[in-house]
């Protein structure tokens, strides 16, 4: 092959550029045949020879360099720090279900929004690996980013390029720009081969394929990644104006453009067919070459997906069904108690090490005193352990037949294991709490760790262990103290050098630019998570007005309930918290929302609730929703008596149309809406 092409090229004086391109196309096709179709047409030797020839030509003619060339797959770049990149489309996680009843309930929830319309579902296996988002522009791989927190992840493009089943150049008629969502996995065969090699050289083998795949993406040397037999399985395409309208067609298109799409995916016309798919793969999943832990169901139609939308964390149109977990039995050696940042006490079972779903399990959560009581678990018992959601191990039962004689009933602790304060248990709550909020070390450390975390103040150069180190050395007593740290104070600490100390101090100083909603979340007010913090920040705008709000005021804020409201009041009624906030203010931390002024924003739609349904010509659905919100309106997810207008596009569902008519709600077109906002 090699000789033929070069000879022909020389013979006809074909220019070098064409030769290089032909070799690239040829190698791309062989990669596709081998890694995606699993049917190679040439030997490995022939492939290597062709690759070497291309490398030689590219070295001689660097002017023809192309980042999508197959030679780029061998790696060689070294990344010291992976750049954090924002996802253009957020990477949501999926809701989990563990029974068929959960899926029936899910369908009911969908039908509540869509009405009684016929639904198709795509059933795909849930691959157990590391999620990745890859952007393609003009058919070329532009960037690959890890999931991260769903909003932003690490740029691991150089490592992803080394994975042979990831096409660097697409085939056929592809859109100009789109993102591909896939899972980087390590097939069992490759994993075993890697472990065999490690054992041969006397190294410790890897614990499971999932963690190994995930860890591989963060290797600094891409050449090392190239050596690993990683694979990339595509499961979703996202972008504007994609040439298909259903998830299943999307998978088919992806396959045609050169992606590896597992052929197990199936289109189901009803839940009955979904259950058949689940039942089949529950048994046969062990025959697959890679790990799966469940099935992902997606509403097939993109139009319906748009209408269903998203919750704060996951799409309403998709759900993961988890296969029943593997169980093992082992001995309970002791029970210890951990104190969380809120003071919640969690009993932990210390077990005799046992292998479970690819990891060695030594500890499992016992949740609370009720659970211990319910299981009647005692030290020395033989217990059954399983992985809840395949991640966190939990004890599900005690093997009473193996209970040793003279065991004593477990007595739940009455005092905090860390500070010896008497524990309290609030009425209606399952957990015991240590009330020593400002004196119990794990609570203080936990709060500071929460403060510096990525979703909160995102302080670079400072990790959980360093926080503990700073606290134990008396350098910080609360998160406001972080802003008073100096390099000279940090340098004498264990594992601290000039550079790391400077990074820490700079990271802390940089966090002063973090917006108010993140700061509010970082304060660690009980029940105030990311979403609630955003709602509160948006409503109150400043910490001063939030701290002055009454219970009734707070409860009237959208999505804020009494429990959260009471917790906010409790937080601000504590003098120590107020003192810390004042300290943070003095250091310049953001306690006000800095609103971006949109010159086109009006209040013409104030207090009006809109529901958007169908496909539109001049707006995408997201643009339309944004326009409503920018003009003071609210977007509702389903039609109710509170809805003022339904903006109907093409293919609006008949059930929605009927409901809107029944409730006498105005149905307006896209043009009517544009007129409405232009009246401002």
């Amino acid at each position: 092959m090699r000789f033929s092409i070069t000879k022909i090229a020389n013979f006809f004086s074909m220019d070098v550029q064409n030769t290089i391109q032909k070799l690239r196309d040829e190698l791309n096709q062989h990669n596709y045949n081998y890694y995606v179709l699993d049917s190679p047409t040439i030997s490995d030797y022939e492939f290597d020879i062709t690759l070497t020839q291309l490398q030689d030509l590219e070295n001689k003619h660097p002017e023809y360099f192309d980042e999508s060339s197959p030679t780029q797959r061998v790696g060689g770049t070294i990344t010291k720090n992976f750049k954090t990149v924002r996802h253009e489309y957020r990477m949501y996680s999926l809701d989990n279900s563990y029974s068929k009843e959960d899926l029936i309930d899910w369908e009911k929830r969908i039908q509540k929004v869509l009405g009684d319309v016929p639904l198709e579902y795509t059933c795909e296996l849930k691959y157990d690996g590391a999620s990745i988002s890859i952007t393609y522009e003009h058919g070329k791989l532009k960037r690959a980013v890890t999931r991260g927190d769903g909003f932003q992840g690490d740029d691991v493009t150089s490592n992803i390029k080394t994975i042979k089943s990831v096409p660097l150049q697409l085939k056929g008629n592809f859109p100009e720009k789109f993102d591909v969502r896939g899972e980087i996995i390590l097939p069992f065969a490759g994993f075993e081969r890697m472990n065999q090699e490690l054992i041969e050289i006397g190294e410790t083998p890897y614990s499971n394929p999932r963690n190994t795949a995930s860890g591989s993406l963060k290797l600094k040397e891409s050449a090392e990644v190239a050596k690993r037999p990683l694979d990339c399985l595509l499961y979703f395409l996202i972008g504007n104006n994609l040439p298909f309208n259903t998830q299943f067609d999307g998978l088919e298109k992806g396959r045609n453009w050169g992606f590896k799409v597992p052929k197990e995916a199936k289109l189901a016309n009803n839940l009955e067919e979904v259950f058949q798919f689940i039942d089949y793969w529950d048994v046969h999943r062990h025959e697959l070459p890679y790990e799966t832990d469940g099935v992902v169901l997606k509403v097939n139609s993109f139009q319906y997906q748009d209408e269903l939308g998203y919750t704060a964390k996951s799409p309403r149109w998709a759900i993961a069904y988890k296969f029943k977990s593997e169980q093992v039995s082992t001995k309970l050696n002791s029970i210890s108690y951990q104190v969380g940042r809120t003071g919640a006490i969690t009993p932990v079972a210390n077990l005799e090490a046992v292998q479970l779903a690819g990891t060695v399990v030594k500890r499992a959560s016992l949740h609370n005193a009720d659970q211990i009581e319910k299981l009647d678990i005692r030290v020395g018992d033989t217990v059954f352990v399983e992985k809840g959601g395949e991640i966190i191990p939990k004890i599900i039962a005690v093997d009473l037949s193996k209970r040793p004689e003279n065991t004593e009933k477990t007595k739940y602790i009455t005092n905090c294991p860390e500070c010896n304060t008497k524990l309290v248990r609030n009425e209606g709550e399952a957990n015991h709490y240590c009330p020593n909020f400002y004196g119990c070390p794990p609570q203080i450390i936990g709060r500071i760790q929460h403060y510096i975390s990525r979703k909160a103040m995102d302080i670079e150069g400072l990790g959980g262990e360093t926080v503990a180190l700073l606290f134990n050395n008396g350098l910080v007593h609360n998160y406001a103290d972080l802003y008073e740290l100096t390099v000279d104070q940090i340098l004498p600490l264990e594992r601290m050098a000039q550079k790391s100390a400077e990074n820490l101090v700079n990271g802390v100083q940089k966090s002063k630019d973090i917006p108010f909603e993140n700061v509010l979340y970082a304060l660690g007010i009980r029940f105030v998570g990311e979403t609630v913090a955003k709602k509160l920040a948006k409503h109150y705008k400043t910490i001063v007005s939030l701290s002055q709000a009454t219970l009734m005021d707070l409860v009237l804020v959208d999505e804020i309930g009494e429990r959260i409201a009471q917790s906010v009041l409790d937080f601000f009624s504590n003098e120590e918290n107020v003192r810390i906030i004042n300290q943070l203010k003095q250091h310049g931390v953001q306690f006000e929302i800095i609103e971006k002024v949109n010159p086109n924003a009006t209040t013409i739609l104030a207090a009006k609730i809109f529901v958007v349904s169908g496909v539109f010509e001049k707006f995408s659905r997201d643009e339309l929703k944004k326009a409503i919100e920018e003009n003071g309106g609210k977007v509702g997810s389903s039609i109710s008596s509170k809805t003022d207008y339904v903006i109907a596009g093409d293919n609006m569902g008949p059930a929605k149309l009927e409901k809107a008519a029944k409730l006498n709600i105005s149905i307006i077109s896209e043009t009517d809406f544009i007129k409405m906002i232009n009246e401002a």
């Binding site: 219970l551 009734m552 409860v555 009237l556 009494e562 207090a607 509170k642």
Partner: protein, 226 residues
Amino acid sequence: MKLKSVIKVLYFLACIFTIIFSTIGKIDWMLWSKAFVLPSALWYYLDATNYKIDFLQAAVFLSCFSGDIYRLLCPNNYVTGEVLSFLTAYILLLYYIFPSFIKINLKYRYNLLLIVLILLSLSTLSYFILTLKFEKMQINILYLILYSVILETLFCVAMVEYNRRITLVSVNLLMLIIFFIFSDMFYMINKFYLSFSVFNFTQIFTQVFSYYFLVNFFILNGKQIN
């Protein structure tokens, strides 16, 4: 100052002046200030709900308003219009609460005992009040019996809800019904049996502030439903 705060101030000023003028016997002035109480309460409600109101809630406000008009403007001894207006408001309120109450509370058997106890005690109280000689009052006694039965039922519902779970909704509902009962009871005793300034103060105080709990209950309950 935000609009919400302005309305609140207006409502509380109207309430305070109504109580003061009523207590010192300046009835003409009280008419003016009381005319602001229910409208400002309604405005507060509308402001909190983006100026949206369900038919049922609007009907409750309207019935209370009509009851107030009768109470303030009609001849001294003729109370049928007033009783029927407030009775309508209470029936509508019961209709508003009852479906979710039945759905939630029938599961709890212990509530039955509580309901029986409350009914017994309230029936005794009603019997005592109804046997008083309201000689000047011109009304069919059957209206009053129905009135007390509906109020008793409302109190039972509120008490059971409160007993099941103490929330802002249940607290506001309970306070609302207690204020309704006190207001009606002391109004009748003061006007038709034994006139006493403390009775007058209690009835006017509980009546004007019952609207505050009514509005809060509607807002919070509406939020819970949504």
